[in-house]
């Protein structure tokens, strides 16, 4: 199929999927089948675009002109291609996991769940393929709104409160800050298209660059740059597949993807580096990185710990953008993919532990690894990838980021990367270690009606976990396609 059709189908397939899921709501197996088929079709469609983009093609599709001079436009470039692959690929895995999780936990409103999931994925693909900032903003907001029902899925008071924080921070930043930045850019540059080298060169200089950058960075609330990060831990009220979606597949990735796009295609790394305005962003990112890791250490709730870990890891990408060098940008972009694979594994494991053993706190996990070896083994793999140790993919992200820091002459940032890896070890490793080697907790504590045999998580969950853990391994040995895809970003 030609690229234009592929782009349009990338949005059409998940949307029609959502419709079909809603229609088949009464027949769970058929409904789940629709989800899986849709996800597979989407991934297949997205893959067809890869060879062209690798060769340097930039297929575009222009839809309706929403505002004078500003059409809804799609254009596939390397960063967007990677994001689309990550999102659509992980959707398949997440769907497999969701089926296992939702059924095992007998969650209510499953149709609504799968429908919103599909719409959220459509929005994500819209963000990935956006050809100008307006289109990106449209789908960015659509993503916020379509994930709201997912975050507040449980419908109880805690969900409502979490939903308020989620929506409040995301909409406040997007309407209050990002929209202002977009309008300002439109005013100054006369265009909102994504052009390599940026559209602001020669139009703004000095502190104006800084203010505009600030508006964008904090306006992109999904990147969870501190102090606008609170929505991420607040969103933990959602069921685990949603957390996986938020953290690995779509939402935060959309955030840092947008950050990268803005830095590379709106500002241009040369403009940023020359103006020197990237320095304070670098420090902010470094601070966010370290503080979030430190907070993660204090969290006993497993999902909360992973949430703060994500905040920290997102700051890696922002740091890569802030370095405003070729390697930095490539490193940050690679990290989007690597972190996605690692984090989704960790969240899947957290969900599996909850489903099988009903444990949510880190302190309760002692000895559980011997009962759930597969899950904890996968957790170990995911943790090692996040930490950045071979033979897992996370290493490459950190490697290129360090190169970028060196290229920018920011030795301090290299140190920051080192320290944070140590902190990652500190808050992640105890979990598998205690799991495998810790004392077994007494299962008959606290009024349990006798020893409850804990077994492994449901099979679909295990399959999903296996795939993503394997993915971490694969990404280590075969980073080259990813590197070749992303290279044009920096050079």
């Amino acid at each position: 199929m030609n690229p234009q059709t592929a782009i349009l189908l990338s949005l059409g397939i998940p949307l029609s999927g959502a419709l079909l899921i809603a229609l088949f709501g009464r027949q769970p197996n058929l409904r789940e089948g629709v989800t899986l088929t849709t996800a597979a079709l989407l991934f297949g469609t997205v893959i067809t675009l890869v060879p062209g983009v690798m060769d340097g093609a930039r297929p575009t599709v222009t839809l309706i002109e929403m505002l004078p001079g500003l059409p809804l436009r799609f254009e596939v470039e390397p960063l967007g291609m990677m994001f689309a692959l990550v999102a659509s690929g992980l959707w398949i895995v997440n769907s497999i996991y969701s089926i296992g999780y939702m059924r095992a936990n007998k969650e209510a409103h499953q149709t609504r769940f799968y429908v919103c999931f599909a719409i959220a994925l459509a929005s994500t693909l819209g963000i990935a393929f956006a050809g100008n900032m307006l289109t990106l903003f449209v789908f960015y907001e659509a993503l916020t709104l379509s994930t709201y029902p997912l975050v507040t899925h449980k419908g109880d008071a805690a969900a409502k409160q979490g939903g308020r924080t989620y929506l409040g921070i995301l909409l406040f930043t997007s309407i209050g800050l990002q929209l202002l930045a977009i309008l300002w850019t439109w005013q100054v540059a006369g265009t909102l298209d994504f052009i390599p080298g940026g559209i602001l060169a020669g139009k703004v200089s000095g502190p104006v660059v800084g203010v505009l950058l600030l508006l964008y960075m904090y306006g992109i609330g999904k990147a969870a740059l501190m102090p606008f990060h609170r929505w991420l831990p607040a969103a933990m009220v959602a069921p685990t597949p949603v957390s996986a979606l938020l953290h690995a597949v779509a939402v935060v990735k959309a955030g840092v993807f947008t950050v990268m796009k803005v830095v590379v295609y709106i500002f241009g790394i040369d403009l940023l580096a020359e103006s020197g305005q990237n320095l304070w962003l670098m420090y902010l990112a470094a601070a966010s990185l370290l503080i979030a890791s430190l907070v993660a250490l204090t969290k006993d709730n497993l999902k909360a710990r992973l949430a703060y870990s994500t905040v920290s890891q997102l700051a890696y990408v922002v740091l890569g953008a802030a370095l405003a060098t070729s390697w930095g940008v490539i490193g940050g972009s690679m990290h989007i993919a690597m972190h996605a694979m690692g984090k989704i594994t960790l969240f899947f494991c957290a969900g599996a532990i909850y489903t099988a053993a009903h444990k949510t706190e880190v302190s309760e996990l002692s000895g559980l690894g011997r009962v759930m070896p597969f899950t904890f083994g996968a957790f170990l793999i995911g943790a090692l990838s996040i930490i950045g140790l071979p033979p897992f993919g996370g290493l490459w992200g950190k490697w290129y980021l360090a190169l970028g820091a060196l290229e920018a002459g920011q030795i301090a940032m290299v140190a920051v990367l080192m320290i944070s890896s140590l902190l990652n070890i500190a808050y992640l490793m105890p979990i598998p270690i205690k799991g495998f080697f810790g004392k077994s907790p007494d299962h008959t504590e606290g009024g349990n009606p006798g020893p409850v045999a804990i077994k492994e998580a449901p099979l679909p969950c295990l399959i999903a976990i296996g795939i993503t853990a394997f993915g971490c391994l694969v990404l280590f040995f075969f980073p080259d396609p990813l590197y070749r895809l992303l290279r044009p970003l920096g050079f």
């Binding site: 309706i64 002109e65 929403m66 505002l67 004078p68 809804l72 307006l134 903003f137 449209v138 907001e141 659509a142 709104l145 507040t152 419908g155 969900a159 409502k160 308020r164 929506l167 409040g168 909409l171 406040f172 309407i175 209050g176 929209l179 202002l180 309008l183 300002w184 439109w186 005013q187």
Partner: protein
């Protein structure tokens, strides 16, 4: 033959149908006639706008008398657009009215209701179409008097006091307008708007003209609920029958904004209004205050109708800001927001009317669990709410975008921030409703009378308007195109 007399037909059709409704006595027949009349009015308006876009302004001499002595109906891009808005809302509301009125207004008053509604429609259309200043006052009073009647037909006895308060304030406003018109007549000897525009510039230094300007501004300001002249609006909207609230919210304030546009830009001219009188120093601060104060007050309301009423006053603030900017972008924003807000608020109030039909109340607490029991209605409400907030893919976003654009063009950063802040405040009060409707379980009520979805005759008009908020939020070529053309015409040059 008919085409030549379309402007007259636009007024005559609803005007003549009104007393016929009264004669028909039976509510059902009156409704049917009102339906036909309102749809005919819409057809007229659309044809007129098409003609204006194709061939430029239309001038119709009523009774064959040539202006400036005779009354002229003059239709250009601005009022052509407003005609379509008013007629469209009238046409959308009429099918809806059947069930809603049956529930909310006593049987014996149905015919009166439709009579008054048609008269109100006539009046509003007349204000929009006329090119004569005194004729504008007459039609304005026709629409106002009939709206007092309509509001007083609400069930709650507070509708009576609300109607009375509106009567007092509205009459003062209209009287101010007539004083202004009188003063203008005194210095120029003409009542025709275009003629006035020609004769006023030499008189620009005269104190009489300034006084006329002031009276007209305050008078129109009372009618459009410009802060701080807005006190009549919350009560009037809250206690009137749902159909009336929807109709008035979507039309009356828009027409009053049109009056301001017409007087500021066509009659007095941009130079006078903005350079001599420096109107923007009044309009921009008032607009800002309206947005901030009324959005905040809306958050604390327990009655959803009042909440949306305060929201309307804030939205009028946006329109007034656009006028204050006095640039093509600013006026485009105001004019397109006339349309966008009419669709949004009309849809929201119609959705609320569906709720009132089933529940009998618009109190926030009674909406518990409604998301499950009346899914289509509440989803319409959510979409309308998203448009109020200004989420992309809705008309609200388009209005906000153009308005902030206009503010940035002038370098007015503070105002741009206020406009966006208004969106954020809107999130708070819309989400209050969303949370109550979707997060609270439905109360254990009478299992004997389960709440069902609203009837189709009410759902379809609601969804037509809400659908318009989505459609015109994506395909803006028509609305923005006409609005920009109208703005250029107002600022001089272009048609």
């Amino acid at each position: 033959m008919i085409a030549a007399h379309l402007p007259a037909l636009q007024i005559v059709v609803p005007l003549v149908s009104a007393p016929l409704c009264l004669l028909l006595r039976r509510g059902g027949l009156a409704w049917a006639l009102a339906l036909i009349a309102s749809w005919a009015a819409l057809a007229c308006a659309v044809l007129l706008l098409q003609q204006v876009i194709a061939t430029g302004p239309i001038s119709y001499h009523l009774g064959g008398w040539a202006p400036p002595w005779g009354i002229e109906y003059r239709i250009d891009a601005v009022n052509g657009f407003v005609l379509v808005i008013v007629a469209a809302i009238g046409a959308a509301v009429m099918p809806y009215a059947r069930e809603s009125v049956a529930r909310e207004v006593p049987e014996e008053q149905h015919a009166t209701f439709y009579t008054a509604l048609l008269l109100c429609l006539t009046g509003l259309l007349g204000v929009t179409i006329t090119g004569d200043a005194f004729n504008l006052f007459v039609f304005l009073e026709i629409s106002s008097l009939s709206s007092y009647v309509l509001i007083a037909l609400g069930r709650d006895r507070r509708a009576l006091t609300a109607a009375f308060q509106y009567l007092v304030m509205g009459t003062i406003g209209a009287t101010f307008i007539v004083i202004g018109v009188g003063l203008l007549y005194m210095v120029t000897g003409t009542l025709n708007m275009l003629d006035l525009a020609e004769r006023l510039p030499p008189m620009a230094e005269s104190r009489t003209v300034v006084a006329a300007f002031a009276f007209l501004t305050v008078g129109a300001g009372l009618k459009l609920a410009l802060f701080p002249l807005h006190f009549w609006l919350p009560n009037a909207y809250a206690y009137a029958p749902s159909v009336v609230t929807a109709f008035l919210a979507a039309t009356a304030t828009k027409v009053s904004v049109y009056i301001l546009l017409r007087f500021f830009f066509t009659v007095f001219g941009t130079t006078y209004s903005f350079e001599l009188v420096t109107l923007e120093n009044l309009l921009i601060p008032l607009g800002v205050i309206a947005i901030l104060v009324c959005s905040t007050v809306a958050i604390f309301q327990t009655n959803v109708k009042r909440m949306l009423a305060y929201s309307s006053i804030a939205q009028v603030g946006y329109m007034v800001l656009g006028i204050g900017f006095a640039s093509t972008a600013g006026l485009t924003a105001t004019i397109v927001h006339l349309f966008n807000h009419a669709m949004t608020k009309g849809g929201l109030f119609l959705a609320l009317g569906c709720v009132v039909l089933r529940l009998g109340s618009a109190q926030l607490e009674s909406l518990e669990g409604l998301g499950r029991r009346m899914p289509l209605t509440m989803f319409a409400f959510v979409l309308g709410g998203l448009s109020l907030i200004g989420v992309p893919l809705t008309v609200g976003f388009i209005s906000k975008w153009v308005l902030v654009q206009a503010a940035l063009e002038r370098g007015n950063w503070f105002v741009a921030a206020v406009i966006l802040l208004g969106s954020l405040l809107a999130i708070v009060y819309i989400w209050r409703v969303v949370e109550v409707a979707y997060f609270r379980p439905a109360p254990e009520g009478d299992a004997a009378a389960p709440i069902a979805e609203a009837p189709l005759s009410m759902l379809i008009p609601t969804w037509v308007l809400i659908g318009a908020t989505i459609y015109f939020g994506i395909d803006t070529s028509l609305t923005l195109g006409v609005a920009e053309r109208a703005a250029q015409h107002l600022l001089g040059g272009g048609a």
